[in-house]
Symmetry: C2
Subunit: 206 residues, 2 copies
Amino acid sequence: MPSSRKPRGPYRKGLERREQILRAALEVFAEHGDRGSSLKEIADRVEMSQAGVLHYFGSREELLLAVLEARDALDTASVGDIHSPGEGMTRTVAHNAQQPGLVSLFVTLSSAATDPAHPAHAFFAHRYDDLARTLTEGLTTGRDQGVVRSDISPEKLARLLLAVSDGLQLQWLMNPDVDMTDLVETFNLMCRPPDGTTDGQAPAAP
Amino acid sequence: MPSSRKPRGPYRKGLERREQILRAALEVFAEHGDRGSSLKEIADRVEMSQAGVLHYFGSREELLLAVLEARDALDTASVGDIHSPGEGMTRTVAHNAQQPGLVSLFVTLSSAATDPAHPAHAFFAHRYDDLARTLTEGLTTGRDQGVVRSDISPEKLARLLLAVSDGLQLQWLMNPDVDMTDLVETFNLMCRPPDGTTDGQAPAAP
DNA sequence: GTCTATACCCGGATAGAC
DNA sequence: GTCTATCCGGGTATAGAC
């Protein structure tokens, strides 16, 4: 792979500019969503012209995808150490509750990206499958340890957990009084074995 | 209230035109979403000019809201006879699975309407609260009859059910292999009392 | 009621000067 | 690299004739 050293010389400024634009674009997209955002506004925020922005990212679409990928990478990294899938999800949701703009961006975009023709369709389709796979693995482990109910397949539980998380974000955006974190934890509770036999350790307990 | 008789005379044609436009607009919005739709296309579909459409609905926004309200009224009516909240939701979801375009419209719009400035914000906010209330009532009844678990409040279960339904629609739109109906039923199962004591009648069984 | 024409706004992308 | 200027396409809403 290429050198990971920070480039010196003429490249440096350009790369920094690029990141600066990326950050600004994230902010703007988070505030106004996909359609509500314009290159102009992003450009204004980094104090350059719209044409200047396009010099770094050939098109608006390219910029949008770059933002999504950068953000997703950051997020998955920040959730890092997970001991059980329920816990991971709870943390993610709790973390999201701090950033309404971003949540809004992802929810809005993921529904818009539902259309196979949408530029971000592939991104979100993969993202869902990845998440479902990761969750399924974690839930399978949990089931084998007896902390997750075994009468429903881990695959189904994973899809449901994903649905709960997305659905709650939607409700929360619509009405901030909805307590996402609490509700996700409640759902985790429902994922425990029917009678509290084997446990003592809830899926999402700290 | 006003006469419910079909108006005769000069009014009649106008009212029919209006409904015709409403139907066409529903189709178009369902196919291309809010932002993807234009008055032009709706006008084309009823074979009149864009200005003609605006003669009936003063603005695009007005038309959109009219479509949402008309559709929502139809839907809630069609779900009609419900014996248990789980059953109602299952049926609705199964029904939706026939109409990807409409589902897409509602999902897309409800996330876009998350923004308080969005024209449809109030509509969706009310809709959520209404749904949550109705579901809560049904689940309370179910709990009293012993078919719904009592260790989690009906309010929470209602919010979760709503979330599951929305979230699954999103996943289904992204990947049609996801079996919404089956998964909602699975969730209903999770809403039953922990041990199959009192029952014999699942919340969503036919 | 319905049309055509048009005014007006906004967006993205491109060309070319500096 | 960065700008200005411009092209081009799209949308909504309005004016005014028929």
